[in-house]
């Protein structure tokens, strides 16, 4: 039996796949822990999973200080290429700098056989290398490893940011260590990711969906009884601020309010005083349980929501806001599983027209089902867990 540790950022989409694979490892009798800054993760861990909380005391002056600015991602309005710069300079580099010391201490104490670190939490890779522990990279937002042929300097710039932090933390390496030389678990299928030429250590295991225990209440009768018209979900994730949300949902209300749809909206119901009668508005929904009832999903192109929808063979209208969402939306369009709108430019009538097209042209549904099949064929949780266990079996291998 082996001892595994996940190192995850405080971002839901990056954590959920690790919970599914971690649960499979635990069921097989291995020890599994999660390192995170997020205390609330403990309640979401699978049975017997252990939380190793990254914490600092008053002696860790710079970490105490930097901890105050980690929520900046929810506050700033960013768009396009600018958002990539913001993501690294103001979010990822400070986050990794902040986490490094804590990760390093926990690794020393926990002595795992294998580290599985998130691709955006490269501090985990740096710490693993420094401690001589083999590490695997968990790629939950796969656009990050996709280099745009036309804009190679964007990727190069990202790599340079990581290398600079590595040097600051005392790791002498000429290139970024964010991607493991041993194994990178890419949580999508090659069919969805697009044509790639990546080395063998990149393994496409498909999206891995963690069946969380549904504790959230939901008006099941309403969705089950909605006999007429289509059932749709609208969500723009959890990362974006009030101003973005308000203008977005304004347009959603104009597009679908009173229409022949039952609309499930993930949003704070207090955002508007009144919502149309055909809307079900909740801040949280049991999304995995609701999805099988739906005919289409409108979302911002977060990799998780897109993959969860496609896993149910549901076509999409994707409205990317920033970061890798533009890429994810591009893939949805390229694979024929949906349409894309520009977040800043779209108007209610465009959303209405796009949804109508996605619902009425069966080609979208067919493409979504074909992606679902590619996800299943990729092997999912069992494939990912198998690859991880294999790495711990041959300990004589020089991993690092």
């Amino acid at each position: 039996m082996a001892r595994f540790v996940y190192i995850v950022p405080p971002l839901t989409g990056h954590v959920n796949p690790t919970l599914a694979v971690g649960a499979a490892l635990l069921e097989a009798g291995h020890e599994v822990a999660w390192m995170s800054l997020d205390e609330s993760l403990e309640a979401r861990l699978p049975a017997d999973g252990k939380l190793l909380l990254i914490t600092y005391t008053d002696d860790d002056h710079s970490e105490r200080e930097s901890g105050q600015y980690l929520n900046v991602i929810t506050k700033k309005v960013v768009y396009g290429v600018d958002s990539i710069k913001f993501l690294y300079e103001e979010v990822l580099i400070p986050l990794n700098r902040h986490c490094y010391k804590g990760i390093s201490r926990l690794l020393e104490a926990y002595q795992p056989d294998l580290v599985i670190t998130d691709h955006e939490l490269f501090a985990g890779a740096i710490a693993a290398l420094k401690h001589g522990v083999p590490y695997v990279t968990s790629v939950t937002a796969p656009a990050a490893i996709q280099i745009m042929d036309e804009l190679p300097k964007v990727y190069e710039w990202e790599q340079n940011q990581i290398v600079a932090l590595q040097q600051e933390l005392g790791l002498r390496a000429e290139r970024s260590v964010a991607s493991s030389d041993l194994l990178n678990l890419v949580f999508t299928s090659k069919e969805f990711f697009g044509e790639v030429h990546l080395p063998d250590q990149y393994r496409f295991v498909g999206p891995v969906i963690y069946k969380r225990q549904a504790k959230t209440t939901f008006d099941w009768a309403r969705i089950a009884e909605a006999s007429e018209g289509a059932r749709i979900l609208v969500s723009i994730g959890t990362t974006f601020n009030h101003e973005h949300k308000k203008s977005f949902f304004d347009k959603v209300i104009s597009a679908f309010g009173g229409g022949p749809y039952t609309v499930v909206v993930i949003c704070d119901p207090l955002l508007f005083e009144e919502w149309p009668d055909n809307f079900i508005v909740q801040l949280n929904i049991p999304q995995l349980e609701v999805l099988p009832y739906l005919d289409a999903v409108v979302c911002h192109g977060g990799h998780n929501t897109v993959c969860e929808s496609l896993s149910n063979g549901i076509p999409l209208v994707v409205i990317p806001i920033a970061y890798d969402q533009s890429h994810v939306a591009g893939r949805v369009v390229k694979t024929g599983a949906g349409l894309r709108l520009n977040f800043n430019r779209f108007k209610a009538q465009h959303l209405q027209a796009a949804l109508h097209e996605v619902l009425h042209d069966p080609a979208f549904k067919t493409a979504a089902i074909s992606l679902r099949d590619s996800f299943i064929a990729a092997g999912g949780t069992a494939a990912a867990a198998g690859l991880l266990v294999n790495l711990t079996k041959n300990k004589s291998t020089n991993y690092v």
């Binding site: 396009g80 290429v81 600018d82 042929d149 964007v154 533009s326 890429h327 591009g330 520009n342 800043n344």
Partner: protein, 99 residues
Amino acid sequence: MDTIVTAGKLNSNEIFNLLKQFITEVIGEEFVEEMDISMDSSFNKDLEMDSIEIVAFSEKIKAHFGDKIDFTGWLSNMDIDELIGLKLGMIVNFIEECQ
């Protein structure tokens, strides 16, 4: 579609109109009507085009000019700050100089 055979050199105004046509094809006519597209329009801030749309736009330039202009080479040399600051006029000037 985009392959108008250009016999002679285009002046900067003609290039500007051609690029505006490409932008229209990428982001849609109705949006362009509401925009005041000029030589000074930036792709990131003014046109609000994201990386995927910029790539689609660049493909149209390549399809039109073919080997005559190494647009991909020029674009791929841009670092992240140059891309964020990329303006329509810069591309017009580049194409004009290449001809």
